[in-house]
Symmetry: C2
Subunit: 135 residues, 2 copies
Amino acid sequence: MDYETVLRAAGLRITRQRRTILAILAEDDDHPDALALYRRASRIDPSISLSTVYRTMKVLEEKGAIQRHTFEGGPARFEQAGGRHHDHLIDIETGEVVEFRSDRIERLQEMIAEELGYEIVSHRLELYGRRRKAD
Amino acid sequence: MDYETVLRAAGLRITRQRRTILAILAEDDDHPDALALYRRASRIDPSISLSTVYRTMKVLEEKGAIQRHTFEGGPARFEQAGGRHHDHLIDIETGEVVEFRSDRIERLQEMIAEELGYEIVSHRLELYGRRRKAD
DNA sequence: TTTTGCATTGCAAATCATTTGCAAAGAAGC
DNA sequence: GCTTCTTTGCAAATGATTTGCAATGCAAAA
């Protein structure tokens, strides 16, 4: 939540651009890609560069402060970490992302990995769909 | 299975390079990326080019003859289609891919999408893990 | 505070995976 | 064997992301 804390805890310096980027990520609750983030940040701080957005995303991802998702056929999109784990449903028409979670699926995944002799380190479940017409 | 049929059915010409690529995809049951495919094909037909591998993958994917997977942080990997639907478990140490399927997960996905007001067009479920030490 | 040292930035150029323009070579139907 | 339309190899283009480098800016120490 408090990005200053996040940054400090990660041993990172608090810079104007990082503040700006993190503020955007905290306020907007969608899943912007680097370019979108860059454009939004530019409105607040016109001197910010796309490289910095990418670099910031990379560092913050390593520190676990944000999550990177690469949905089918598109650039990476980001969201701030910290919330509960969830998976994603992507509206293939609009690109909108809906979050959901299912403990049952989660458990089944564990069982499957177990059966196959593996230990799950991470996973990704994405549903791609279109809004059902309410008729 | 019979790639000549696949190609002909798709209205595509049967060329030496397509034959070669499809033969490799049919024989090897792993999930090679374009470069690996190119290297294997080169051993059989040294004149083949990487562009052709990419082009062939693209056409065949459109025709539904192969499937493209983009696992985390890596180039696209391919497998011939036709088998039953399945998901993937990727060994993060070796890159090896294990296929699995779960009707229960499949059904839960449907339910979730339904609840969210969406119709699933496709989905992807990937487990990333490491082999459990048998101790 | 001022100083100092290392982190961070902006810019341009590099990289990686993949696609594409184009002229030459090759299928397929006649 | 022609003719036509497809496919190929090559090189150059593309899109997303990363990186080298010199300049700038934090932050800890003085």
